[in-house]
């Protein structure tokens, strides 16, 4: 019996203290709380759902339109619509208790204080297994400079969140920078347990009939297969710069897409926009990974992580306790 089990490749991975049955996450903002997909997929086949980002105060979000289709991808400018942390703790978080997969809370903010406050509150909930820090917001105290675009600000905000929770802290990086590896090193130095790479790429589209931007917010974030080469490179570069595990994302729809990120150095992958084509993508990718490893006689995902990245530095821990 145990012999048979032992030949099933191990997909279990660890992100800091977070142990995941599958290396496949549902990306923040794309799967809601996961519940919206319970009618369509079995959440027990997902590693974890990353919840929609929550902020200290409630936010009505941006004016519409908030979505535009573009070649091979889409632009979004939701504007972090959410009910604020207090309402969220009272009404939403309790529902996450019985989730058959990991639950990662996502925190956004506009000052160091915001991040610390929200991280502490959310991190204190039993229903939340880990915190992802969405630092792609402008810092209102610092002339609107985006936290994730400045190594110093990145260090500060990660350090503030680190102090606020003992739970696994994943820091999500923006690709809209000259040198993403420098930002990654600061996040690691400030105490991040893992990095999510990448958030959306800034972009815009123009309505050529109405002569105005197509998004209510003028600019938005580009996601989907169009940005995959940008995201794979970001993972490749970050994996050479830090030793903490990476959650790769940006345009993943298929097994082959996920493999590109894993071979570049990602320990896990996250599916966002791919969900809007087919919500079964993360389940299929996990199944595909298992077959891929089995066909090659490989025992676990660790055997392929970073294998296309000669300078790979990332030193993930793996739990070897499952068949």
């Amino acid at each position: 019996m145990s012999g048979v089990i032992a030949t099933q490749p191990n997909l279990r991975v660890r992100l800091g203290g977070l142990d995941l049955a599958y290396p496949t996450l549902m990306g923040s903002g794309c799967y809601g709380s996961g519940d919206e997909y319970a009618p369509f997929i079995d959440l027990a086949g997902i590693g974890a759902v990353v919840l929609k980002s929550v902020t200290r105060a409630p936010r009505l979000g941006n004016p519409t339109p908030r979505l535009v289709q573009t070649p091979g991808g889409m632009l979004n400018a939701i504007g972090l619509q959410n009910p604020g942390i207090d309402h969220y703790l009272a009404h939403d978080v309790p529902k996450f208790a019985s989730r058959p997969c990991g639950v990662i809370g996502s925190v956004a903010g506009f000052s160091l204080d915001d991040y610390a406050y929200t991280t502490e509150k959310l991190g204190a909930c039993d229903e939340i297994d880990a915190i992802e820090l969405n630092i792609s917001c402008p810092n209102v105290a610092s002339e609107g400079e985006t936290f994730s675009c400045d190594p110093r600000l990145t260090h500060k905000v990660v350090a503030a969140a680190r102090k606020a929770t003992a739970k696994t802290l994943i820091v999500k990086l923006s690709p809209n920078v000259t040198d993403i590896a420098a930002i990654a090193r600061e996040a690691e130095a400030a105490g991040a347990d893992a990095l999510a790479v990448i958030n959306t790429v800034r972009g815009m589209a123009i309505d050529v009939h109405a002569w105005k931007p197509r998004l209510g917010n003028v600019t938005g974030g580009l996601s989907g297969p169009a940005i995959r080469p940008i995201a794979v490179l970001a993972v490749y570069e970050v994996a050479r710069a830090v030793a903490i595990p990476i959650v790769g994302q940006g345009g993943i729809e298929t097994l082959s897409d996920a493999l590109e990120f894993i071979l570049a150095g990602a320990t896990a992958v996250s599916i966002g926009t791919g969900n809007f084509t087919d919500p079964r993508a993360p389940i299929r990718i996990a199944e595909g990974l298992r077959s891929y490893l089995a066909e090659r006689g490989l025992a676990s995902l660790a055997d392929i992580i970073g294998k296309a990245n000669a300078g790979f530095k990332n030193a993930t821990e793996f739990s070897g306790d499952e068949g």
Partner: protein
Amino acid sequence: MPTLESRPAIYTTRIIDRREPAPGIVILGLHAPALAADTRPGHFVMAIPPAGVQAAVALGIYEARAERVSLMLVDAGPRTRALAALAPGDSLELLAPLGNGFFLDDLPDHVGIVAGGVGLASVLLAAEDIVRRGKRATLYYGARTARALVDRDLFAAAGCAVECATDDGTFGHHGYVTDLLRIADAPTLLLACGPSPMLRSVSRVAAERGLRAQLSLEETFACGVGACWGCVVPLDRASAQAPKFPEAGADESRTYVHARICKEGPVFWAHELRW
């Protein structure tokens, strides 16, 4: 809201018929018995496009009877085009049925249905339902030109009166479909689906004349199931459909919240919208 809870799922259907009632318009008939049974008027689907094409696309459920459901595709871009290229025998996967549907429990004697362009796809089932409930239904149907007015016979066959308007005057009233509502004995309840400018106009006419109107809204969708908050519309806080949401501090948040068209809607009461 529909009287019976429907149970959304991923349906794998097979295309059993295909017709082109006008250039650029394709109607696909699907074999989908369980979905046909679970569909209420005003429901929509998220159709997964053929491999290689990104992003599922929102489509109204046009017909639903016995084993068959149909979808209407109006050429707008890559996804409607890829779906319109499917042929009988091909399979098509759907997330369905989705949305709240029209509120049909408490109807006056005469219900007006206002449809513009592809909006027609979302109102045939409502027309059938109204007639089935023993009420009078009139379709007010507008399009650019006569050729784009399709399937009037299907409505007539369902026992629904049909009045038309075209932008170019090639059939029916020469002008806006909403002009047809400016009559003495207009129906006191309107159900409307079509492009935004038409819906805003229906909204204005209804307010002016003291009619009630349910609008089935269109917006770019990503998820179609309430997960991404991409498809919102400002809605009165007091609406029964408004999501629970604390005041955001900004003044306007005292009066409205952003409701998801795909989840809280797509059907809203015109007088509750704050757009």
